[in-house]
Amino acid sequence: MSTTNGSSAPAIAIRNITKRFGGFTAVDNVDIAVPQGAFLVLVGPSGCGKSTLLRMLAGLETPSEGEMAFMGRTVSDGTRGLVADAGARDAGLVFQSYALWPHMTVAGNIEWPLKVAKWSKADRAARVDEVLGLLGISALKERYPAEISGGQQQRVAIARTIGPKPSILLLDEPLSNLDAKLRIEMRSELMRIHRATGATSVYVTHDQVEAMTMASHVAVLNNGRVEQFGAPLELLENPRTTFVATFLGTPPANLIEVRKSGDGLVYEGLRLADASRAEAREDAQLLYRAHDLMVGEVPGRPAITARFEEAAPIAGRTMVTAFSGGRRLTAMADGYFRAAIGDPIRLSFLNEPSAVFAMTGERIN
């Protein structure tokens, strides 16, 4: 295992990391690497191991197996029990709870890590003013954390973390405590700060929208494993599993269970695709994006009847949810669409399925 130096080494390399708590495996053999300046988003449902992975990156947990390296420098090695101390990693962590020190002012919170890092007084003062300006909170300098709003606390937490200029910035669901409007605002704010600092960021969230909008690299985690790792659009267009296909994308994509019948794949007696796409399997799941499922009849395209559930207007069109065979389907309608709950509506499949999966979840083609 040789360590390369210089720009060719990935900024963050996670090699076969496993973390067990007693008999429970929280993180299972994760292996990903991103280059310098990347914005890596770890996304998945709660309990998928994303926060544990982040805490291992921060040095707050020791991996049970595997190795982690920042800029080619090994910081964790599970098998040898070798750990760079949390403070010696050149990494900063923004906590979900912000974890501001309640007895220090905003300026005090930002300055203290610099004091620990033995910056000179003049440098500290200049840097505090600089990051306060960067986050737009200069006016709050002398306030205490309890005297400012949640959104402002969030900014202070970020300012405190980027103060010592870490080359790795770790963020643990930083937007989950903000209201919807602030969240969107802080999303672009975080992107701006990421670009301004040039740091490599790792961002943990359960919100796939954040993953899609912010990431240069996305790792979708489920049950401690990486389901898929790649660029956001790559994951969206070529999901390797049904979990990724249904977890990412707005509105959510549809999975239709079909059986082979003759040379076609059939759903409720309706032929949807050629049997060859399932590669000789008896049954399969077809992926249709919401925009490939249209409310109403379309000449020449197969259609099914479903029971109307709800409608939400989005950008001049309407996202319609309906039930068919106990399965929730999402389709689009042009303009505004209304119906009473339980009304039968027709849904047409506009295109061939975007992807075909085996019943066990993995991609066939």
């Binding site: 420098r73 090994t74 090695d77 029990g81 750990v83 760079a84 403070g87 990494a91 309640p102 203290w112």
Partner: protein, 581 residues
């Protein structure tokens, strides 16, 4: 493998500090708590011990040694628990759930009686109701030619009243904490469902606070059965014995083994009721958060009853706080016990000795024994406050860090054991262990060190509890975020943890201080003339009939306690500038 700049945490060193501290703590709590209990049990298994068991439980004397004191003890315990639930519960309901005027002031008043020693109320009762049955000076009422019947002057009834007046504020604290956890949402949900007020009270509020009521009942029961001062001052002169006065009498008269047997029996009585209370509420996962500040609470309008009920509450509070203090103060200035408000003299405070007053004794502030006792008391209280808080913090930290391990469970259980043990029985156990030399170590009986050890052990559960609540206010995130900056352990402690914890620690230490200063039942057995403390001196004067001296000293204790408690209250509640109001 070229992890050049990686700092290597030595696993061995890590492990050592991780396991060494708990082991040292286990040793300390074993010596403090387990060893005396084991020793007192062993002491009653010797030949003399077995005779003592027989004498106490199965002989002609057992009626006097065990059954009658047991009956009195249980009667007192049940009576006090019932009285405290009624009185504390009524006040808690008034303060927390109704629109009674000035609820905050009422709440503070209702917690006051617990700050002052229980013998203050007992002495005040004597100053008012003492009758001529025993000879000597009579109290205020007989001196003003009212006849006070014996049942009102001595024995069970006055003891019961005095103990209720002391312990109801404990019940108030527990019940009001539970009531404050009833959010307005809970009540409003019932209102929306169409429930009437009485329905809400019996269907929602009462079931929610039932665990607190049971807890309050068993705590006040345990307090009453282990109390020494009140039955000793009001019951002993007419030979009403409880288990604690019996225990004291046995050890005083050198019948040590019998004393130990009674101590063990007293532990069983008190612990079994606490255990019973615990069992009754076990299963309901309903914990009272004593410091919890529930959200919005719903206040019921009292209508025309608002002011009358307020009046009742104020009178109850004044009768149990200001009246005893007033009587004690007046009595300490009164030339004659009975004439409280005439012929005042400052002799009992600052008079010179050698006159024909008070059999030639000087006033308390000219009495070297008292001055020494004052210093010993302060020294003891400060020492114990510091040692228990340090120990409590270390224990709480170790228990929370090793959560789930056998070690932590063991530490937790051992450090909470003293809760089950009445303090006078605990003192007996300390005599059993340290009363004689252990190997090369000399006997500690009568030393200051023994007082410190026994008091620290007795207050251990309290100290661990306050250590826990102090640490609970500091989230793990806050410490971890400091760790990420690279700050070392001591830097984190100094800059982050201590500034956040210091107020809580000081407040906890002050309350320990109060508990020591006002304590009588623990020191009454461990006291010798070489280590006099104030409460013991007051008790001795009272027993010898020098009521004015006793009352003057009690006032000194009372003032110390109230000042320290108010200070602790301020430390806990003062708005810190970094906390929003």
């Amino acid at each position: 493998m070229s992890a050049v700049t990686t700092s290597v945490l030595s696993r061995r060193g890590f492990l050592r500090s991780e396991t060494l501290v708990p082991i040292v703590l286990i040793l300390i709590v074993s010596v403090l708590v387990i060893a005396p209990l084991v020793k007192i049990v062993l002491s009653t298994l010797t030949v003399e011990g077995r005779d003592a068991w027989q004498a106490v439980l199965a002989s002609k004397m057992s009626e006097n040694l065990w059954w009658r004191p047991l009956w009195n003890t249980i009667l007192l315990g049940v009576g006090v628990a019932a009285g405290c639930i009624l009185m504390g519960g009524f006040l808690a309901w008034l303060v927390m759930l109704t629109d009674v005027p000035a609820p905050k002031t009422l709440g503070l008043l209702a917690t006051m009686p617990f700050m002052i020693p229980s013998f203050a109320a007992a002495l005040a009762w004597g100053a008012l109701f003492r009758n001529s049955r025993l000879g000597g000076s009579v109290g205020f009422f007989e001196a003003n030619s009212y006849v006070v019947p014996d049942w009102l002057a001595w024995g069970l009834f006055p003891t019961l009243i005095v103990l209720i007046a002391h312990y109801y504020s404990l019940a108030f604290t527990v019940i009001s904490a539970a009531l404050s956890s009833i959010g307005a949402d809970l009540v409003e949900a019932a209102q929306v469902a169409g429930a009437k007020r009485s329905r809400i009270f019996f269907g929602i509020i009462l079931p929610v606070v039932t665990p607190a009521l049971v807890a309050a009942a068993s705590l006040t029961f345990a307090g009453a059965v282990s109390n020494f001062a009140a039955p000793a001052l009001l019951g002993l002169p007419v030979r009403m014995q409880t288990l604690s006065t019996r225990l004291f009498g046995m050890i005083e008269t050198g019948q040590t083994e019998r004393g130990f047997v009674i101590a063990l029996l007293l532990i069983v009585v008190s612990a079994s009721f606490l255990w019973l209370g615990e069992r009754l509420v076990a299963g309901r996962k309903n914990y009272v958060t004593v410091t919890g500040k529930g959200g919005r609470t719903k206040r019921f309008p009292l209508g025309k009853w608002r002011w009358p009920l307020f009046g009742v509450a104020v009178v109850l509070c004044l009768l149990t706080t200001f009246l005893p203090a007033l009587i004690l103060t007046a009595s300490s200035f009164a030339l004659q016990n009975g004439s409280l408000f005439s012929n005042w003299t400052t002799h009992f405070w600052i008079g010179e000795g050698g006159t024909d007053m008070a059999q030639g004794q000087a006033g308390i502030f000219r009495n070297p024994v008292l001055i020494e006792a004052l210093w010993t008391t302060l020294k003891l209280a400060v020492t114990v406050a510091l040692t228990t808080m340090a120990l409590g913090l270390a224990l709480a930290h170790t228990i929370s860090r090793n959560k789930g391990t056998l070690l932590a469970t063991l530490l937790g259980q051992v450090s909470f054991t003293p809760i089950l043990i009445p303090s006078i029985a605990f003192a007996a156990a300390y005599i059993a262990l340290f009363g004689a030399p252990i190997g090369p170590l000399p006997s500690l009986y009568g030393t200051f060190l023994l007082l410190v050890l026994a008091a620290s052990a007795h207050l251990l559960p309290y100290a661990v509890q306050s250590g826990r609540s102090v640490l609970g206010q500091i989230s793990a995130d806050i410490e971890e975020s400091a760790r990420l900056t690279g700050a070392g352990f001591f830097r984190r402690m100094g800059a982050i943890i201590m500034p956040l914890a210091i107020r809580g620690l000081l407040a906890g230490a002050l309350l320990v201080f109060v508990k020591i200063v006002r304590d009588l039942s623990l020191v009454v057995l461990l006291f010798t003339s070489t280590s006099p403390v104030l409460s013991m001196l007051a008790y001795r004067y009272a027993a010898e009939g020098f009521m004015q001296f006793a009352n003057a000293i009690t006032m000194v204790i009372l003032v110390l306690c109230v000042v320290a408690t108010l200070l602790a209250h301020r430390l806990q509640n003062r708005v810190q500038k970094w906390k929003s109001a």
